[in-house]
């Protein structure tokens, strides 16, 4: 329920009427299972396309909207782990058969698409085959966002209508197999809707995707909510989710979940919640925003630490940063404990220094591998610099071979947290005779044609975030060296270490969680020696909602706080 505070008599006639409507109508012709409506204020841009596996549909907003509309075999839980969704699959296992990884998925017999057609092995097979290649010559589709994992599937086999087996190429097991069917961008594709019978036509369908005005086509949804064309107003940027009458599991408790694009202006977010015009907001955390929300009455605010982590990348091809001593000296000169206290520590007392590049603090298997670097050690930093011929200049900045230790830190624009992080780090390392200056640039994520982009690899130091995942091996491309086959595609540091490579390869092919954790930590230990990058902290997420909502629990992974929105209800 919206506003209705019960005290209005004269002025609130309209509001009373609205409230009554909201309470009684019980959803527009969709089973009548739920009660009332909630309004979700979406901070990111309104999506143009609802099909998440193409570029047009790959956005945070889609992630939030779609999470319980197109669901996968696995759900990503708030503690950054995969959990099989019993509504979708009765079991999903991976095993080694003759040295080949075989994934066996048993589909819930009751599972049906929203047009009543059953979800079958053919849908899973189609999901894999549609995304196995971007090369049209091999029957692939260039518009598909990614093929990683699917391209390692050797064959798929429908054991029955409700059971499918995927066999991976020999010697190339895929540790992150759960991630292939985990919802979000890894949704299950509805074959009878999407498959056009021939790869070229299917590719044309994929390319077009689902433009937002058309909603998700009937027969393509397998979650408790429906995203129908009639409930989408593109101009007003409003989308109303209604319950899926064909859903066989627990039905949503609400009649409507209204998605309203509120934008990222933090003041607008706070005031909308304060005036009870929206029920849930999920803005980027900022100091005053968090403090403002925490002091609001009738509102619950929680800060969680999510899958994004901030870090510094050093360009190892830079003449000065090529010296590991310089990179280590910068790490030693930083007081990362003080940095965390000064930044994300202000949002939540649970904030910690991230001392692992592959496993996050809040993730199972986290080990503090960078103990010596948590706090500042100016003397050691200086001695490292002096050990390779560093001389203190008159301005208090070291020079090596006549070149001053002055570095430009590139980062994104309009991000106060990063501005604050760089300002703090710069002030810290200055004490060790190293000068950092900030250079905020919108081109940072551009391709090679932009000289200031990471891809162009002309930077010195970069500050940005990586998105982690429940699967540790998905981080591999950050640390593997560049290879012609595309390994290390995102290793902008261009650093390479054979020991790390070995461990990362182990990680990619690990079949048990413990094996993954061991390999990841071994790789990270070595990476502390290399110091191509410095991890800083997990980025917090901020969820705030009116107290008349129950059932909310932030999911700081990409699944977002609407991950269990079918369980939301009004008190």
């Amino acid at each position: 329920m919206r506003v209705h505070r019960g005290k209005a008599l004269a002025v609130g006639v309209a509001i009373l009427a609205l409230g009554a409507a909201a309470c009684s109508s019980g959803g527009s012709g969709s089973g009548g299972s739920g009660k009332g409506q909630l309004i979700w204020g979406e901070p990111t841009a309104f999506p143009g396309n609802l099909f998440p596996i193409i570029a047009a549909g790959n956005s945070t907003a889609i992630g939030n909207l779609d999470v319980r509309v197109n669901v996968g075999a696995f759900r990503v839980t708030p503690n950054i782990a995969y959990q099989p969704d019993p509504d979708q699959v009765t079991s999903a296992t991976s095993s080694l058969v003759n040295g080949q990884q075989v994934v066996d998925i048993k589909i819930n017999p009751k599972a049906v698409w929203d047009d009543g057609k059953p979800i079958t092995a053919a849908d899973y097979q189609f999901t894999a085959s549609a995304q196995k290649s971007q090369d049209p010559a091999k029957g692939g589709c260039p518009d598909i966002l990614g093929t990683v994992g699917f391209d390692q599937i050797e064959k798929s086999q429908a054991v029955s209508d409700k059971e499918v087996k995927f066999t991976f190429i020999k010697g190339k097991p895929f540790a992150d197999w759960k991630g292939l069917f985990s919802g979000g961008t890894a949704l299950i594709l509805s074959k009878h809707i999407i498959d056009q019978g021939d790869p070229v036509k299917t590719c044309a369908y994929l390319k077009k995707g689902w433009p937002v005005a058309g909603g998700v086509p009937v027969g393509a949804s397998n979650g408790p909510w429906l995203l129908q064309a009639k409930n989408i107003d593109v101009a007003k940027k409003i989308v109303t989710l209604v319950p899926n009458p064909k859903y066989w599991g627990a039905k949503p408790k609400l009649a409507r979940l209204v998605y309203a694009s509120i934008g990222s202006t933090s003041d607008t977010n706070v005031k909308a919640l304060k005036n009870q015009e929206v029920n849930i907001i999920y803005p980027q955390p900022q100091l005053d925003l968090v403090a403002n929300l925490k002091q609001l009455s009738g509102v619950t605010t929680s800060v969680s630490f999510g899958v994004q982590f901030e870090h510094l990348d050093f360009n190892t091809k830079d003449p000065l940063l090529a010296h590991p001593e310089v990179r280590k000296a910068i790490a030693l000169a930083m007081d990362r404990k003080a940095l965390v206290d000064a930044t994300v520590g202000k949002f939540s007392d649970k904030a910690q220094v991230l001392n692992n590049r592959l496993v996050l603090n809040t993730q199972t298997g986290y080990v503090d591998n960078g103990a010596g670097y948590t706090t500042q050690n100016i003397a050691k930093a200086k001695s490292l610099i002096e050990s390779i011929g560093g001389k203190m200049g008159p301005d208090g900045i070291y020079t090596i071979g006549g070149k001053p230790l002055t570095f430009k830190v590139i980062t994104t624009q309009q991000n106060p947290l990063r501005d604050q992080t760089i300002a703090t780090i710069a002030a810290q390392v200055k004490q060790a005779g190293i000068k950092l200056t900030e250079f905020a640039d919108p081109d940072i994520f551009e391709d090679k044609s932009h000289p200031n982009s990471l891809e162009a690899e002309g930077f010195q130091i970069a500050l940005f975030a990586w998105v982690g995942s429940p699967s540790l091996s998905s981080n591999n491309s950050i640390y593997l060296p560049h290879t012609p086959t595309g390994g290390g595609g995102q290793n902008y540091t261009q650093g390479a270490d054979p020991i790390v490579n070995d461990q990362l390869n182990k990680l990619a092919t690990a079949l048990t969680t413990q094996a993954e954790i061991d390999a990841a930590n071994a790789a990270d230990k070595q990476l502390w020696q290399d110091m191509f990058t410095i991890p800083l902290y997990q980025k917090p997420t901020l969820l705030s909602y009116t107290n008349n909502v129950s059932g909310l629990a932030d999911n700081p992974t990409l699944a977002g706080p609407l991950w269990n929105s079918d369980g939301f209800s009004l008190k």
Binding site: V270, A342, K346, A423, A427
Partner: protein
Amino acid sequence: MAISSEVELVTPVGNQSPELDEGFGSASRSQGRLALSRFLRSPMSMISTIVFVGIVGFCFIYPYFYKWNFATPDLRKVAQSAHPGQAGHILGTDETGFDLFARLMRGTQRDFVIMVASTFVTLVIGIAIGAIAGYFGSIADNLLMRFVDVMLSVPVLVILIIYGNRHPNMGALQLGVVLGVFGWMGLSRLVRAQFLGLKEREFVEAAHAMGASNSRIIFRHLIPNSMGTILVFGTIFAAISIVLETSLTFLGVGVHQPDTSLGLLITTGVNAADTRPWLFYYPGILIVIIVLAVNLIGEGIRNALDPRHNRVRD
């Protein structure tokens, strides 16, 4: 934002008033000096001038003596989000430990640069275009005034955002120049109108008869006689350029970290009204004072040059 309408407020002041003459015995004073003395005798104008010059002068000089630097945060834990007066920070600090007082001085410096650069550029372009259109007339006038129509048909703010998107790392000087490049249209219309009137006056014909060149007539006769209008426009534009800077910074175009400007300070401070009020009120009040002072100086000049507003006897 509303550059155009602001400009229209200007009363044409090129006409000297015949009533003022016959004072052969009075002290030797020029039109300008008369206006100056009227300006100086208006308390509002004087206070505004003193406030403005005082603030700007202080913000340029005092940083040399102040112990906190705008670019170096105080890393002590106590100095993060310090209240005014706490931990040795007069006006407090922000969350990083940047001294607000040092930042306000730096921001004022940057905005002064923006103000001066934008006003200078606008005056140069506006006078040049207005002078050519008004003085040479016919085709030049027609073309230039249609060009002004074209420039006015697109919201300035939008042009500036597009420019800012392409030039993400503008400094204050560049921002000022760009503000000026897109802000001259009103002035050129005013100068043209003034020139159209002035060039029919006999002293211009007299200069022709003496053999004066066009440039001499424009620079020695017409522009000095339009100076009142130009001055008033200039001050109002200076005030508007600061407000525009805040709008642009709010929209993500303009001065960025690690530098700062008043616009940036209030953009970040606007969320802190309840939680850290010093970050909200001090920059907001400072910007209102500066813009108000500049506007009132403009109003003072207008009144001083307006012969009808003749309360001061002489």
